[in-house]
Amino acid sequence: MSDILTMVWKESKDVLFQGGWKSLLRPLIMIGIMGIYLPLQLGSQWLGLTPLAMVLLLWIPFFVIISFIGDVIAGERERHTLETLLASRMPDRAILLGKVIAIVLYAWGMGVISLLLGLVLVDLFRTQGNWMFYPLDLFVDALVLILLASVLAASAGVLVSLKVATVRQAQQILSVGTIVFVFGSVFVLRAVPASVYSSLSYSQFLLIVMAVIAVLDAILLGLSLMSFQRSRLILS
């Protein structure tokens, strides 16, 4: 566990918060959009965590992770730091899990901040002083969904980053992949007969979505762990 924490510490210094105040620009822009602009636009829809608000929240991990995951995996190879790291005692799994956890926590943290900031702002400006909180079950669902989506994006990002030579290539493939994934998901959801939706409550539907993403997480994370091996990486 201490090895994983060491990697999380390193990623926070090297990638997530490097560059002083400039490193805050990217997260501030993201929080500005997801935690200020959209909640104020959606108002009560945001506060009710409607499907639209939920879909918008799920974009956060993909946006955040696409911009970082290539840097932490393909970037290490591109900058020739991976070979030295592999020559150290740090186990393969700790390297990979440390990187994934750092990025996932960062993306999830942005989601949580956006949710809480959005709540405060909508309460301040849209509810005429009637302070309200999100429906508790949906709030928990949202937290879990953002976490699961973060793991999904990070695991897919690892697999892509291991196959490409540069950070730029990784980001390009992941951007296209995200668009394909989102439109593919919409296509699949629309193909489901309306009777299925009518037989499900919103919470039940979210539960199914969570289960599907959790299964995809397990598969992609498992594949990432199998692919991230010293003997393979040193030859790539």
Partner: protein, 311 residues
């Protein structure tokens, strides 16, 4: 530890049809700087990768610090330090954070880590720049920092892969000096990959010469000189004719004679006297300006070995 710190037996690594390392049998004693010499592409880096357990050998076996590279690679990597082909520093992080990261990797306690970082950076004249992002540093400074990183956790053995490659002579000499003083102070064994013969001559107690994956010879620089050529006399002057060279070659104490511009190099058999040879040159019409007795440089040894291999 008793016995060699590194031992390889018929170690080979092939990449499809390319024999990167071919039947390498080698023993490196503890406490010395061992130079692994060879031209680019000779198999030096692959050998380090094999010794660190980063690559599986195709054939043969190796042990480092008594641990098998196939089955106990983690034990090896826990105990060694390495500066590989690239410095491998995180350029957006500060020098202090780079060292701190590797200190954490090797589970050096926080207080000890801080003290050790200060000790190494001070010794290398980098302490005042410890808060700088490494990306702003010169190449020589980065390489010094990478050496400090390799030594941070007091490893008994470090691997250095071409540490001065691409450096200007001044930077290379500075790094060599720092390396020499650190190695002497820390008492570590060093496995040094290099194609820089001056570096090997200055630093190494033993050298192994590798070419196209095959080990050509191993020994101290002096032993190699004896094996590949004895003492020499270098005579600078004018009027050295073919007849002069022929007369010299007839002498029993002369092993070989070579003329490059006005420099006559005579390889001697054993510690023969030079006086009679100089007299012979003068009698045959040569003008002698300077006579130097010397021994073959490691570069001469290396070139001889390469020529023999080509032949």
């Amino acid at each position: 530890m008793a016995g060699p710190i590194i031992r390889t037996e018929h170690l080979s690594r092939f990449f499809s049809t390319v024999k990167a390392v071919d039947d390498l049998s080698l023993e490196v004693p503890a406490g010395i700087v061992f130079g692994f010499l060879g031209p680019n592409g000779a198999g030096k880096t692959t050998t380090i990768h094999l010794l660190l357990g980063l690559l599986e050998p195709t054939q043969g076996q190796a042990s480092v610090l008594g641990f098998d590279t196939r089955t106990q690679a983690h034990e090896i990597r826990t105990r060694i330090g390495a500066l590989l082909e690239f410095a491998g520093l995180y350029e957006r992080m500060t020098a202090e954070d780079n060292l701190d990261f590797y200190g954490r990797i090797y589970h050096v306690p926080a207080a000890e880590r801080r003290a050790r970082i200060k000790e190494l950076l001070t010794h290398l004249d980098l302490w005042d720049r410890r808060k700088d992002p490494v990306g702003k540093w010169s190449r020589g400074m980065k390489q010094k920092l990478a050496v400090a990183r390799a030594l941070l956790h007091h490893p008994p053995l470090i691997f250095l892969d071409e540490p001065t490659a691409g450096f200007d002579p001044v930077a290379a000499a500075t790094l060599r000096n720092d390396l020499t003083s650190l190695v002497a102070r820390e008492g570590v064994t060093v496995f040094l990959n290099t194609h820089n013969l001056t570096e090997a001559e200055k630093l190494c107690a033993q050298v192994g010469v590798i070419r196209q994956g095959k080990l050509l010879t191993v020994g101290s620089p002096d032993e190699l000189r004896v094996r590949t050529g004895g003492p020499q006399a270098e005579i600078v002057g004018d009027g050295f004719t073919d007849q002069t060279l022929a007369l010299l070659r007839e002498r029993p104490e002369v092993a070989n004679v070579a003329l490059h511009n006005s420099h006559l190099t005579i390889e001697l058999r054993g510690e023969s006297k030079i006086g009679p040879l100089v007299s012979l040159i003068v009698r045959s019409g040569g003008e002698v300006e300077e006579v130097r007795r010397g021994k073959a440089s490691l570069e001469d040894v290396f070139l001889t070995l390469m020529e023999e291999e080509n032949a």
